[in-house]
């Protein structure tokens, strides 16, 4: 096999890891609360700016900046639910989607206001590792590894803990969860917190590899939605797998032609698949 193709495939897998993390967050929130945070990628963008500002601007050690970013975004997730979602929980689902769309506008413009439209980079130079004849960026490897650990941690949280079980349960029957002694509102807030935290983690991992600018969310946002819908909105495992499928399409497509065309391919694949399996490949 052509060495560059192998590299492309491997990079595809590595990219898939972080996308999968984001898909998990989005699916978690949708599965539990039944809302799509259209602004999810832009929340990640804010996280990228945050770690940039803490590390580059304030000179904090990288790990500390990362930890603070993750916690801050977790809190931000709670705020999003309290201020934007909760007031309109009862209204038409499309309203909730649109309200987070307003948040998208706000975050993108606010970031422009504060940071301007320049591309910023966190400036952490990590080595490129050689595996035989294949060159892999350590940053990508690290990101993939951390994302995988995060996903596994989430899995065990959901499977083994009481709160995790409650989160899984509430997605299946919202009305009687109270009978189990679980406060619905509290579960929503905790879910939003986890969603925000995952976004924060993804932000740190992406910041290691890519520049940040106010509209970076537009590059991977629609991709994440597509991944989630493909895997079945709300289906965590489906989204996880779909992330790798899509990232492979992009990686291999990018190898054979240019990047944008590979995205076009991915989106077209998505649209076609929607018509083959309207509820997603692994729909509930």
């Amino acid at each position: 096999m052509d060495i560059y193709l192998l590299e492309a495939i491997i990079n595809g897998v590595l990219l898939g890891g972080v996308l999968a993390l984001l898909a998990l967050g989005l699916n978690l929130i949708f599965g539990v609360i039944d809302v799509v945070w259209i602004a999810y990628a832009d929340i990640v963008m804010c996280g990228m700016y945050l770690i940039y500002w803490l590390y580059v601007g304030l000179g904090w050690p990288l790990l500390l900046a990362g930890a603070v970013t993750i916690t801050s975004l977790a809190v931000f997730g709670i705020l999003v639910h309290l201020l934007i979602i909760e007031p309109i929980l009862g209204s038409a689902p499309i309203n909730q989607l649109l309200a987070t769309g307003g948040l998208l506008f706000f975050l993108q413009s606010f970031a422009t206001l504060v940071f301007g439209t320049d591309f910023r980079n966190i400036g952490v130079r990590l080595p490129v590792i050689e595996f035989g004849e294949v060159y892999i960026s350590f940053a990508r490897l690290l990101a993939f590894g951390t994302a995988l650990i995060g996903s596994i941690a989430l899995y065990f949280f959901l499977k083994r803990t009481f709160m995790g079980t409650a989160i899984r349960a509430i997605a299946q029957d919202r009305d009687i969860i109270g009978l189990m002694g679980a406060d619905r509102r509290r579960i929503y807030l905790i879910t939003s917190m986890i969603g925000g935290g995952l976004a924060g983690l993804a932000a740190c991992l992406l910041a290691l590899q890519y520049d940040v600018h106010p509209f970076v969310g537009n590059t991977f946002g629609p991709l994440i939605f597509m991944i989630c819908v493909l895997g079945g909105l709300g289906n965590m495992i489906g989204g996880f797998i779909a992330a790798f499928v899509i990232s492979q399409i992009i990686a291999i497509g990018g190898y054979y032609s240019n990047t944008e065309l590979s995205y076009v391919l991915a989106f077209t694949f998505f649209i076609v698949l929607m018509f083959v399996r309207p509820r997603g490949i692994f729909a509930r």
Binding site: F162, T165, R168, L179, M180, G181
Partner: protein, 234 residues
């Protein structure tokens, strides 16, 4: 133990319960019978906190519980097995039981409680890793009851436990109810199957169109002409 006085309730502008007063003493088994649409399920939901009561008072063990949300009521010791079981279909049997023990005081005793439930319902232990949605009707009912027991309740409420089950299975379910009762649990059962429930409970109330029409011991009600004609087909 549980006492309702003049409680009303409804859905929006629709009133379903009018001025309900009833009592359940500790150690008793009490039934609520009546036709479809009488408000029996509404009654359960008011007691367990899914619906807010309007007017009147509700006390449990001397403490006022009217108006508390559902997740607080279960902490008081009232567990509700909902109509149609309402298990979490894509969770395993064990996960369903686990969620039953969500309240802090139950979490600590999870291992002990789950053993007790498995002893009571050995079939559940066999199927502990099976998805609850794939269980048979009778098994689902056992799982639902087990789930409610996980919280270590003082009062167990069951909404139409016989619904949708084959007669033989219904017998089994009421056998379990007797056993649970024998262990000292107080029970409140809402049922359409009058014959079966009157054989299990000490006392019962007849609920029709949102009002209590009759009350008495199960012997009295079994001998009552109106009940015999309308609800037992005799």
């Amino acid at each position: 133990m549980l006492s309702l006085a003049g409680v009303s309730a409804g859905y929006g502008s629709l009133r379903a319960l009018f001025d309900i007063s009833l009592e359940v003493l500790q150690g008793e088994a009490v039934g609520v019978i009546g036709p479809n649409g009488a408000g029996k399920t509404t009654l359960m939901r008011v007691i367990s906190g899914l619906i807010p009561p309007r007017g009147g008072s509700m006390t449990f063990e001397g403490r006022s519980v009217g108006g508390l949300p559902a997740h607080r009521i279960i902490e008081q010791g009232i567990a509700h097995v909902p109509e149609n079981r309402r298990l979490f279909p894509r969770l395993t049997v064990e996960d369903n039981l686990r969620i039953g023990a969500f309240i802090p005081q139950a979490r600590r005793h999870f291992a002990v409680q789950v053993d007790r439930v498995y002893t009571l319902f050995p079939r559940l232990k066999e199927r502990r890793h099976q998805l609850a949605g794939t269980l048979s009707g009778g098994e689902q009912q056992m799982c639902a009851i087990g789930r409610a027991l996980m919280s270590g309740p003082k009062l167990l409420m069951m909404d139409e436990p016989s619904a949708g089950l084959a007669p033989l299975v219904v017998q089994q379910v009421f056998e379990f109810v007797r056993r649970i009762r024998a262990n000292g649990l107080t029970v409140l059962i809402v049922e359409q199957n009058v014959q079966q429930v009157l054989d299990v409970v000490d006392r019962a109330y007849l609920l029709e169109v949102g009002c209590i029409k009759l009350a008495g011991t199960s012997r009295e009600l079994k001998g009552n002409d109106f009940i015999r004609k309308c609800y037992m087909g005799l």
